[in-house]
């Protein structure tokens, strides 16, 4: 059993609005083992990006971390001061942002953007050593050394995303958070970038938290998966088990959703609309759209229970495993 690098306990992130708090992340608990690839899926508005940002303490007003713990190697990131968290970011927990297109500074050379982050943490490194570091990082993400002297507009989308990846791994972090890193890229480039991310992660021995909504990508990349619905985890399991036998009704619909190349058929959407988080449904947030809803579901909020060893589900259809 490998050690748990990142433990998230009952994390709550609310957005303050004029009509009351919007509970974007509402009591999320999960953990990341050392060297593990964990996927976080959910539809738009389910709180997945809010959660990813909160783990880095990058939540901006009106968003606010209301409570809970984020333990990175036992250190609670929520309790750190602003200057302390700055030392942790990038060095121990790094982010690969969603829109690589808009994440780089258009008037700065690639090498300077990579050096910028390293300098902030280790300011006494000589310039020549930094340049060498840049070359090594570019090589790691399979970019040519010439890229160092280029500007972002000279690079393709896939190359920009690789640069973002190089920045994220520049200080060998323990955890890499990748927030839909390939959603703006086409399938060919997506596969190449994800393969690179996988190789880099393995050579560093880091853990990856991949945020996204593409179930196909999750199936190919991660080992374990957490399904987020309306700010709560609906299911946490190994990816193989989820695809073999999804337990939560929402997961079942989510897996039935993407059309396959195997056969033509009707498109299956999930009926109904995602809940409004300002005024969420009573009880289980999924009950208005759930094909298996019972009377209990509209009253009682289901808690995340371990229904089989290693499989956690937040649904009244299942009972806790007997130990």
């Amino acid at each position: 059993m490998t050690a748990e690098v990142l433990q998230v306990h009952n994390l709550r992130v609310y957005y303050q609005t004029a009509v009351g708090p919007l509970k974007a992340v509402d009591g999320v608990t999960f953990s990341l083992k050392s060297g593990e690839r964990f996927g976080l899926v959910g539809e738009s508005g389910s709180g997945k990006s809010t959660l990813a940002f909160a783990l880095m303490r990058l939540t901006k007003p009106p968003g606010c971390i209301e409570g809970g713990q984020v333990l990175l190697d036992g250190l609670d990131l929520i309790k750190l001061s602003e200057s302390e968290i700055r030392k942790v970011r990038l060095a121990q927990i790094a982010l690969v942002p969603q829109g690589a297109m808009n994440s780089l500074n258009p008037v700065m050379r690639i090498k300077d953007q990579i050096i910028d982050g390293i300098r902030d943490h280790l300011n006494e490194i000589p310039r020549s050593a930094l340049e060498e570091r840049v070359h090594e990082l570019l090589k790691r993400v399979e970019l040519k050394p010439e890229v160092a002297n280029m500007f972002p507009h000279e690079l393709s989308g896939g190359m920009k995303q690789r640069v973002c990846l190089a920045i994220a791994i520049s200080l060998s972090p323990r955890v890499i958070i990748a927030d839909e890193p390939t959603s703006a890229l086409d399938v060919v480039v997506q596969r190449q970038v994800m393969l690179t991310l996988g190789q880099v992660q393995e050579s560093l021995g880091a853990s990856v938290l991949l945020v996204g909504h593409d179930m196909g990508l999750m199936a190919q990349f991660v080992g374990r998966i957490g399904v987020l619905y309306a700010g709560k985890l609906a299911e946490v399991s190994s990816v193989r088990e989820v695809f073999k036998e999804p337990l939560h009704p929402y997961t079942q619909l989510l897996i039935a959703c993407p059309p396959s190349l195997k056969e033509k058929g009707e498109f299956k959407g999930i009926p109904g609309l995602p809940p409004l988080l300002l005024n969420p449904p009573s009880g289980c947030a999924f009950h208005p759209r759930c094909p298996q809803a019972m009377s209990r579901c509209s009253v009682e909020v289901p808690s995340l229970k371990e229904v089989y060893p290693g499989r956690w589900v937040g649904c009244h259809l299942y009972t806790e495993v007997k130990r």
Binding site: G157, Q192, C257
Partner: protein
């Protein structure tokens, strides 16, 4: 068999740069396509970003001037249409754009985008008739009129907004809808709903569809025929089943192999293909455009651009690997493949 919309050897070159450093970008080169009048068909156009998909739509709509070639609607050249013909074209050819956020004017209620075409094309003689027409169009694609009308764009979700655009397009009873990445900005579950409503529309009212996308899976699901674009050229065209199940052009093969499959036990494509170096070509390429990335490149591929080889009854591939098959001319390519149905 009559043609509805046809592109013949269409080329579009964008000029850029200053007076002395003129740079030309070839967005589309010698593209032909053909959509017959009946029965209605769904044609998928797939390609990576920068392959010229959106340029193609804009040329077909007459929004951009062609560098070479011609676009014909019902046999008439788009550039030479009379006023009345143009009005008919604008009514019968509708478009759905990629971004359901940008097409709305935030100061108007969503009703505005629905009432404008009704007034403009005199579809109704009274207000109540117009209202009925709009309500029918919304119901046909699964939206509740009372929950949709009278609202502002920001009060609707992305999926709802995109479906209102589908309703707007269907309102005019067009012959053809050009859908430019209609679902790339919405979630997987909504994607399915929108595509299903497009398919129903096509079947119910006999509307042909040109579905532009970078997503091979949905293109396969919805289309009868598929056109694969690479750097402004058609590399493979044919029956959807053939193109996806048994891709022949090395680029199509790469595309199909790169799709992440929702099955953890199935491996993700073959081994690493060369990381792309070039972007859009800046000068007319002598050989095949895919040659730098092609695992099976031969000397001839560097010399001359490959013509179309008709490898099956309903499929043509622009690749020398199939030089045994008979060559077909670009402009007849669409017709040659269109014998069935």
């Amino acid at each position: 068999m009559t043609t509805l919309l046809e592109a013949r050897n269409v080329t579009k070159v964008f000029g850029s740069g200053g007076l002395f450093k003129r740079k030309e970008t070839i967005a589309l080169e010698n593209v032909s396509l053909f959509i017959r009048e009946s029965p209605p068909s769904i044609t998928g156009v797939v390609g990576e970003s920068g392959s010229g998909k959106t340029t193609l739509v804009r040329l077909l709509l007459g929004f951009l001037a062609l560098t070479e070639g011609e676009v014909l609607y019902k046999g008439r050249d788009l550039q030479k249409m009379s006023r009345d013909e143009r009005l008919e074209f604008r009514r019968e050819v509708q478009v759905i754009f990629q971004d359901p956020f940008e097409v709305y004017n935030p100061f108007y209620k969503v009703d505005h985008v629905l009432t404008t075409p009704v007034t403009k094309f005199h579809l109704a003689s009274s207000k109540s008739e117009a209202r009925k027409l709009i309500e029918h169009a919304l119901e046909a694609i699964g939206l509740q009129p009372e929950e949709t009308l009278g609202r502002y764009p920001h009060q609707l979700s992305g999926g709802q907004r995109q479906r209102v655009m589908v309703a707007r397009a269907s309102l005019l009873r067009p012959r053809i809808i050009l859908a430019d990445e209609p679902v790339s900005m919405v979630d997987a579950s909504l994607r399915a709903t929108i595509l299903e409503s497009l398919r129903k529309l096509s079947q119910k009212f006999g509307i042909s569809l040109l579905y532009i996308t970078h997503d091979l899976t949905t293109a396969y699901q919805i289309s009868d025929n598929i056109i694969v674009l690479y750097q402004g050229s058609v590399v493979e065209v044919g029956d959807a089943e053939l193109v996806i199940k048994n891709p022949q052009h090395p680029y199509t093969r790469l595309l199909v192999a790169s799709i992440p499959v929702s099955d953890p036990d199935q491996s993700w494509g073959q081994d690493s293909t060369p990381v792309l170096v070039s972007k859009t070509s800046t000068k007319l390429n002598r050989g095949c455009k895919f040659v730098d990335r092609c695992p099976g490149a031969m000397p001839v591929c560097h010399e001359n651009p490959p013509p179309f080889f008709q490898t099956d009854g309903y499929r043509a591939v622009r690749c020398y690997l199939y030089k045994e098959a008979s060559v077909i001319a670009d402009e007849t390519m669409g017709k040659a493949l269109d014998q069935k149905g």
